[in-house]
């Protein structure tokens, strides 16, 4: 606990003595694992934060209630409101990084691109892994240069590549990509531009025409962009939106006569909250995501029975159960819990710290049988992480909106061309290491340090 927190507690306690109410602090139990949650329930992104964190909390509750913790080590957590703002996120990280009630912090979910960047170096100094699913710096895949950043699941480069591979699946093979016009309509921000380099590379490799169209933030008027699309007549549009940009894009596309079912949204254009505001014209819209929606996954049925139906859920709006955001929270929690479990296998059944959490993440294997055992088959893609590969998967599912809900339309997980992308990613990571004066660690040294 930090000094300020302690001081605050004393002040608050003094204040409470007057009113007679006593705050119930959880009893100190050394065998419990602390898991801090930097939530964002107010501010501009609250509508996504509320279901995401509900998914995470519900899964953690499920682990505690049904499975009795991770190998008997129960989880406990507290929330720190970040409002999705960098400074607040940094403040929360600093507040919780020392652990609580005797338990260290195994890993941290920054949940925001800017804050994950601000924490990149601090997390190395503090030895606390940052797990960023579906966002974060693509180069962090190279764990030799970014030892404590984990872009698990699906980086932005993989997102671009999988989207192209899905188009190939639709047109009948990668050789048919040649001559296609694929326009990327992107949010004009660092996040939006992340896919320009990989798309350029893929266009050269497969011979499609790569058209980039920027939409300035926030993107609530896109008539100019879609007028251009009407002129160019692309075969497919890859939509990398953010916030209000996505529904406006869908509506404007429908208005200008571009077939909505030939738009493929990116990770952050693929939630219910992105399509519903577009109304009936959103029918047929597709999106690629590492977070498939649906309530039929085995683990979701279990959560429903043990948590939601018993009134233990964190979810205020039951409609969100099984949504993209809710499931993304569940997926993140599954990865975190399994990383802790892996670390426990190496370091013993006790609360683990950040350095051990790093070992657990770098040795995380979620193959088909394991996912089946977890009940997460089809929900989480097969993952195998290593020092050189902090992504571990690199595949997404394509969902299609039927007017009321998402349905998976791709043949399972659409893999990205990682063989093509990884050398470029390693190059960029090496350049970063040179600029920052970082000596990349070898795979052997990582193992030796863990020992």
């Amino acid at each position: 606990m930090t000094r300020l927190a302690r001081t605050m507690r004393i002040v608050a306690l003094a204040a409470l003595l007057g009113t007679g109410t006593v705050a119930t602090a959880p009893a100190g139990d050394a065998a419990r694992q602390y898991f801090p949650l930097p939530t964002f329930r107010v501010g501009a992104y609250a509508s996504s934060g509320i279901p995401v964190w509900a998914g995470t909390i519900d899964y953690l509750r499920y682990i505690n209630e049904v499975e009795g913790g991770i190998n008997g080590v129960k989880l406990f957590w507290d929330e720190c409101e970040t409002e999705w703002a960098v400074e607040k996120g940094v403040e929360c990280y600093e507040r919780v990084k020392g652990g609580r009630d005797g338990s260290p912090v195994p890993l941290f979910l920054p949940h925001g691109d800017p804050v994950s960047k601000a924490l990149t170096e601090k997390s190395v100094a503090d030895k606390i892994p940052l797990v960023t699913t579906g966002y974060g710096r693509t180069e962090a895949i190279d764990g030799r240069v970014f030892p404590y950043s984990f872009t698990v699941l699906f980086s932005f480069w993989s997102e671009a590549s999988s989207a192209i591979n899905y188009i190939a699946e639709q047109v009948g093979g990668k050789d048919r990509l040649k001559g296609l016009k694929i326009a990327t309509v992107y949010h004009d921000s660092p996040y939006g531009k992340e896919t320009q380099i990989p798309l350029d590379l893929l266009a050269k490799t497969y011979g499609f025409e790569n058209i980039q169209i920027a939409v300035p933030h926030p993107g609530n008027d896109q008539s100019a962009q879609w007028a251009r699309i009407r002129q160019i007549k692309p075969d497919w549009v890859f939509l990398r939106g953010w916030g209000v940009m996505t529904p406006v894009a869908i509506k404007t596309a429908a208005k200008t006569g571009f077939p909505v079912d030939h738009i493929i949204g990116g990770i952050w254009s693929g939630s219910e909250e992105d399509v519903r505001p577009a109304g009936s014209v959103g029918k047929g819209y597709r999106a690629i995501t590492p977070f498939p929606a649906g309530q039929d996954f085995e683990i979701l049925k279990k959560i429903k029975a043990a948590i939601v139906d018993k009134g233990l859920s964190d979810l205020k709006d039951p409609k969100s159960f099984g949504s993209v955001y809710y499931n993304s929270g569940v997926i993140e929690a599954i990865i975190a819990v399994e990383a802790i479990r892996t670390a426990q296998g190496r370091f013993g059944r006790k609360p683990i710290d950040g350095a051990q959490g790093q070992w657990g993440l770098e040795h995380l294997v979620l193959d088909e049988p394991r996912l089946k055992a977890l009940g997460a088959e089809g929900l989480v893609q097969p993952l195998r992480l290593s020092v050189k590969d902090h992504e571990g998967g690199g595949a997404g599912k394509v969902l299609q909106w039927d007017g009321t809900q998402w349905a998976a339309v791709s043949h399972g997980w659409v893999k990205s061309d990682r063989d093509l992308l990884l050398p470029r990613i390693y190059e960029r990571a090496a350049a970063y290491a040179r600029e920052k004066g970082i000596t990349p660690r070898g795979e052997e040294t990582a193992e030796a340090i863990a020992r």
Partner: protein, 361 residues
């Protein structure tokens, strides 16, 4: 100086500042400095450095920059975020491309470049007055963020246009630890504040106040109005630029232009409105209030309300309390926290010197 100008200067000075040579004030400043430089490093941990002291000092500096332009010279500006961004990107490029330059010179260089940009942004002030001046500075806010986002050269062609602090070192000493970054921030803030303190008491500072209090009157008595306005923009932007560079390198480590968006400009403006327009100490008091109160509320609510209540409701409740506090303070003292503190000190002094009918001054 014509007598009329001298009279006006005197009036403006008396109206804006409590007596400069007051021993209580000097003692207070010295005590604060001693605590910041000696006591803090003994007791502070990472949390205090990274989450409280460093952001507080930097936002105080950003507020100070805006206070020079807006509080002292009366030129309303919403460009603080943009000037901070210029300072950050300029310092980054100086560190990267001119590696022989020691860190303090890169910071200074970043500040000067931000000052030049501020000068250009301030040009419309020669024709536009009052709140209408906010519009061109607002334009700069958007244009500059857009430029850093679009032109890859500024961020050395990083994938996400983000800039990241190169290794921070001075005279062979590593400054990348939280204590080192705090030392760097504190030293910069003390030096800049001392310079600003001299400046507002110099001829330039008197010209600024003359322009603020009555532009036409100032012009009639021979105050160089255009030079005063532009120098106010230059100095204010330069100070904000240093703050931006520190924000990027001493506080966050890695930033992109989003860290310096319009919200940051508003934050700086609220800091000086709450703290006190035209008061150096007001920038610090305002920053303490705007930056630290939400953190304090969050700690308090966590302890008092526990984890039983819904997190979202707790967070909203904190915002309500914070807003109510701002309104309360501004009703109590519309001239800001600095004036509130000043009247408090005056009352104390009167208590101490009650037998002396003449008072301190």
């Amino acid at each position: 100086m014509p007598p009329a100008a001298a009279a006006l200067d005197g009036r403006a000075l008396a109206a804006t500042s409590t007596p400069a040579g007051s021993p209580i004030r000097a003692a207070g400043i010295l005590a604060a400095l001693a605590i910041a430089a000696v006591a803090v490093p003994v007791v502070a941990d990472d949390y205090w450095y990274n989450a409280i002291l460093i952001p507080f000092l930097i936002m105080a500096l950003a507020g100070l920059g805006l206070n020079l332009t807006m509080g002292f010279a009366g030129q309303a500006s919403l460009g603080t975020g943009a000037f901070m961004a210029v300072g950050a990107y300029a310092t980054y490029n100086l560190l990267l491309r001119v590696p022989v330059l020691p860190l303090p010179f890169s910071l200074l260089g970043g500040g000067l470049i931000a000052g030049l940009v501020g000068l250009v942004v301030g040009l419309p002030s020669l024709r536009i007055r009052g709140f209408y001046l906010v519009a061109p500075t607002l334009a700069a806010q958007f244009l500059i963020a857009w430029t850093f986002n679009q032109v890859g050269w500024f961020s050395n062609y990083a994938t996400s246009s983000a800039i990241s602090a190169p290794h921070l070192a001075l005279l062979g000493r590593d400054l990348s630890s939280p204590a080192g970054r705090y030392a760097l921030t504190l030293a910069s803030v003390v030096v800049v504040t001392a310079v600003a303190w001299r400046l507002v008491r110099s001829r330039t500072g008197r010209d600024w106040r003359a322009v603020r209090d009555g532009e036409t009157a100032a012009a009639i008595i021979g105050v160089p109005v255009s030079r005063a306005k532009l120098s106010a923009f230059f100095v204010g932007a330069a100070v904000s630029g240093v703050a931006g560079a520190l924000w990027a390198f001493a506080y966050l480590g890695t930033v992109d232009a989003r860290s310096f968006d319009l919200d940051r400009s508003f934050q700086a403006m609220f800091i000086i409105i709450v703290g006190g327009l035209g008061s150096l100490s007001g920038s610090f008091l305002g920053a303490a209030f705007i930056v630290l109160t939400p953190i304090l509320l969050s700690h308090l609510s966590g302890t008092i309300l526990g984890t039983g209540l819904d997190g979202g409701q707790i967070a909203n409740l904190q915002r309500v309390v914070f807003g109510a506090l701002i309104i309360g303070f501004l009703i109590k003292e519309p001239n800001g926290l600095a004036a509130l503190l000043g009247s408090l000190v005056d009352r104390l002094r009167r208590l101490a010197h009650r037998p002396d009918p003449l008072g301190e001054d």
